[in-house]
């Protein structure tokens, strides 16, 4: 079908979701459940295993290699707007002031998600989310770690930036050895954000169509 009509995968998915959600939202909810549960979910979203290899992106960059040779990806949380029942609404109000669910995403350097923890109240902190993820299926191979931002704790599987350090080499004249880590750290960390951005872009067509049908 792709060859015949030159449709992209995202367009096919949009069409499929639109057709399925046309009669009422019941099928849409069913499809969400199917997509977000095994085996479909586990086939496409899986944590790095013990045989993880460092991607060429890091291996070929002399500024990153061999400093980040044990890094397996980036982990961060993002607030997604939510509409909870009024009784639960205070718990879903986050520190930015709007009602949301706090979702934890981990992605590898191929810009693919390796873990997602969703549905937590917006008032939950990143560190709490990470605790839940650890007990809920996030597997990190031994001696490997994710990059994370300052909202997380420094622990065996997470590498966070130094706290209270100004990370601007040019402006501050490299006054501190701690400054050196951050520019390259942020270069890798941004993969996580780009991936989430890409996800939202890809999904828009699907959900816009769905809303139009409603």
């Amino acid at each position: 079908m792709v060859k015949q009509y030159h449709l992209k995968v995202s367009q096919l998915l949009s069409l499929f979701m639109m057709l399925m959600s046309t009669p009422n939202c019941r099928y849409f909810c069913k499809m969400l459940s199917i997509f977000a549960s095994p085996p479909f979910y586990t086939n496409h979203v899986h944590s790095p295993d013990d045989t993880y290899h460092v991607p060429n992106k890091i291996h070929n960059d002399s500024k990153l290699w061999p400093f980040f040779k044990d890094t397996i990806g980036v982990i961060d949380s993002s607030h997604i707007h939510a509409h909870p029942p009024s009784s639960d609404r205070p718990a879903y109000r986050n520190h930015k002031g709007f009602v949301s669910q706090n979702c934890l995403f981990a992605c590898d350097f191929d810009l693919k998600f390796s873990y997602a923890l969703t549905g937590w109240e917006g008032s939950v902190t990143d560190a709490r989310l990470y605790d839940e993820a650890q007990s809920g299926g996030l597997y990190i191979p031994p001696n490997k770690y994710f990059l994370a931002d300052a909202g997380f704790l420094l622990c065996h599987q997470l590498l966070v930036p130094y706290r209270s350090v100004r990370y601007h080499l040019a402006e501050w004249g490299c006054a501190n050895i701690r400054c050196i880590l951050f520019p390259f750290y942020s270069k890798l960390s941004n993969i996580s954000y780009m991936s989430v951005d890409w996800q939202t872009r890809k999904s828009c067509s699907i959900y816009d169509m769905h809303l139009l049908e409603m």
Binding site: L13, S33, L111, G151, D208
Partner: protein, 120 residues
């Protein structure tokens, strides 16, 4: 900077602002489903719409955002992370030495360039 990127995207794609009135169990499935769809598209059509530009990566990350969220600022309180702190320091030290080497190389090349200028 990161907050700006998110806000731009959420304004562009209204579904993330509208928060559809499904039960929370369904709403919780939406981001997970998006992850699966994203990976699915990556797997089956990896060449599709690759627009990511990481040339300005260093400018996107906002370290100073107030997302400490009650985490203790004092690293000394995190006893269990002692070994990770060593890893942290080791990486920083290695990168610092590498950076110093690059600076020295640049300085020596500048000197030789100036010398050649003065000789001319």
């Amino acid at each position: 900077m990161i907050e700006r990127i998110f806000s731009v995207l959420k304004h562009r794609f209204q579904i993330l602002l509208l928060s559809p009135e499904y039960p929370m169990s369904i709403q919780a499935h939406i981001p997970a489903t998006l992850c699966v769809i994203h990976n699915f598209i990556c797997d089956h059509n990896p060449d599709e719409e690759v627009y990511m530009d990481d040339s300005n990566d260093n400018e996107h990350f906002d370290y100073d955002n107030p997302e400490h969220q009650g985490i203790p600022d004092d690293e000394e309180e995190l006893d269990e992370s002692g070994s990770m702190k060593e890893v942290h320091k080791h990486i920083a030290r290695c990168m610092w030495e590498s950076y110093q080497g690059i600076l020295q190389q640049q300085a020596s090349s500048d000197d030789s360039f100036n010398d050649s200028d003065s000789n001319m």
